[in-house]
């Protein structure tokens, strides 16, 4: 699709359905993906917040880690991530980051412990599309022989998000809506064997549903036929996650940035902070103790002009103190919103800053994230 990329784009198992639904397809992380459907980004965003949206996220990496028992698999993964995996309970999911030796983020991911006692020792991972091959190589080279990484390439991933997601899914799957936020189980959705978690990337209540690739279109059609469900593209996915204050790899997160700088310290529990045993522990310990040099923050422009990725953040006197990493228009906020990094001295909510937009200085303020409150079912 893009003349610049030499490799042909990969297609997700839902590609045909996107075209049938009238999606506008764009290249994203090596895949042809729907950026919007005929409804358009703005209405798709608002629809997801008001009712329910179905997203194709099959481009994301799904993988399993297999070991002889949970203790062994969890201990192996803990050498690469700063989360508590050992105490992750069956059927529970956790957010964490794959770290490099410098404490930079190789990727951010979801880790799920299988709910099935017969699968003790198995962890499921969901990784970013743009990073999954890097991740597989990074992890394979660092896992002990007793723990195997198995990329899953024959399954699709759907996300059903929004206040009516649970009601829509309940009509096809009585089990799935019994989950709480960050819970997961293997269960049938209609006639299809799925793995369902109560999670997402919009700030709304919702589910991610893993299904065999050859059943993905049939399942998507069933869910789209439910009252209140519309197909939603990557455009709205991006504005929804930005309003929810959620980081996107390649924007807020990269191999130079630590989880402390990214304001993800909440995902590093006490045991891991104190005992370490993950890459970059010394840097993370130091940043937790002394504070990081820069911090991820919410930035609210005071006017109407959006400030995009790469916009410089200045202090009122004109000195450069940071940069916008994601920015645009928030349809629910009904105004411009941004996230970025600023020197920690300027990170306090309420701090006035200036954004350099097309050569003109625009007033803005550091604000708490998220811009739109999360509505997870805890």
């Amino acid at each position: 699709m893009s003349a610049a990329s030499a490799d042909p784009l990969e297609r997700t198992p839902l590609c045909e359905l996107h075209l049938e639904l009238g999606a506008k397809m764009v290249p994203f992380a090596g895949y042809a993906m729907p950026v919007q459907y005929p409804l358009g980004v703005l209405k798709e965003h608002l629809h997801t917040r008001a009712r329910a949206g179905l997203f194709d996220v099959s481009h994301m990496g799904q993988a399993s880690l297999f070991g002889p028992d949970h203790q062994t698999t969890a201990a192996a993964l803990e050498t690469l991530v700063p989360a508590d995996i050992l105490n992750l309970q069956p059927g529970r999911q956790r957010y964490t980051q794959l770290l490099n030796e410098e404490g930079g983020i190789v990727d951010d991911l979801m880790v799920t412990r299988s709910a099935d006692p017969a699968e003790d020792g198995k962890l499921l991972l969901v990784l970013n599309a743009s990073r999954k091959e890097v991740d597989y190589e990074y992890m394979s080279g660092r896992l002990p022989d007793s723990v195997r990484l198995h990329p899953i390439r024959d399954r699709a991933l759907l996300a059903l998000q929004g206040p009516e997601a649970a009601a829509a899914l309940a009509r096809q799957s009585p089990q799935a809506p019994t989950l709480r936020f960050m819970g997961a189980l293997a269960t049938a959705v209609a006639a299809f064997e799925c793995h369902v978690s109560r999670s997402g990337y919009t700030g709304e209540d919702g589910f991610e549903i893993s299904v065999a690739a050859d059943q993905a279109i049939d399942l998507a059609r069933l869910l789209l036929a439910e009252e209140g469900v519309q197909p939603i593209g990557l455009g709205a996915r991006d504005s929804l996650r930005l309003e929810a204050g959620l980081s996107l790899y390649g924007h807020e997160l990269d191999e130079m940035t630590s989880p402390v700088e990214a304001d993800l310290s909440w995902s590093i529990p006490k045991r891991r902070r104190e005992a370490g045993g993950f890459p970059g522990w010394d840097r993370i310990q130091r940043e937790l103790r002394d504070g990081p040099a820069r911090l991820r923050v919410g930035i609210k422009p005071e006017g109407r002009a959006p400030a995009r990725d790469g916009t410089e953040v200045l202090e009122p006197s004109g000195a450069r103190i940071g940069i916008v990493t994601s920015g645009g228009f928030g349809p629910t906020v009904n105004g411009p919103i941004a996230m970025g990094y600023v020197d920690t001295a300027y990170a306090r909510p309420g701090t006035p800053v200036e954004l350099m937009v097309r050569g003109k200085s625009q007033p803005a303020r550091i604000v708490d994230l998220p811009f739109v409150p999360h509505r997870y079912l805890r």
Partner: protein, 124 residues
């Protein structure tokens, strides 16, 4: 009947005597998607042909609007600041961005008429 011309950047210019209204085409607004912000120039500003004169931002991206011909900005469309979505509703009607007093009408000769523009859109 006003004279209508189009640029390869998908602006239209509608000339009535010495005064010309400039906006983006229906095709351009379709490509942009939902317009959420518009920045218009100051009245009195002198612009050269192809100079970035206004800005339109959709949920997806920011785009510059270039002056199709040289001139002086004599009027701006104040409705657009309050209601940027007007660009999606009526791009080639009520959603003009600014009006120019045209400096040199011969610059219009290098622009496309509607038939040529429609052909240009089909090819691109």
């Amino acid at each position: 009947m006003a004279l209508e011309r189009f640029t390869e950047d998908h602006e239209y210019i509608r000339v009535d005597g010495d005064i010309a209204a400039v906006g983006i085409t229906h095709h351009a607004q379709e490509q942009l998607g939902d317009v959420v912000f518009v920045e218009v120039p100051e009245v009195g500003r002198t612009v050269k042909q192809k100079e970035a004169t206004a800005v339109v931002e959709s949920v997806k991206a920011a785009s510059e609007i270039y002056a199709p011909v040289s001139g002086v900005v004599v009027e701006i469309n104040a409705d657009l600041a309050a209601n940027p979505a007007l660009v999606n509703e009526d791009a080639e009607g009520k959603a003009w961005f600014f009006k120019l007093r045209v400096a040199d009408k011969s610059e219009l000769d290098g622009l496309m008429d509607r038939a040529a523009y429609e052909e240009f859109v089909k090819r691109s």
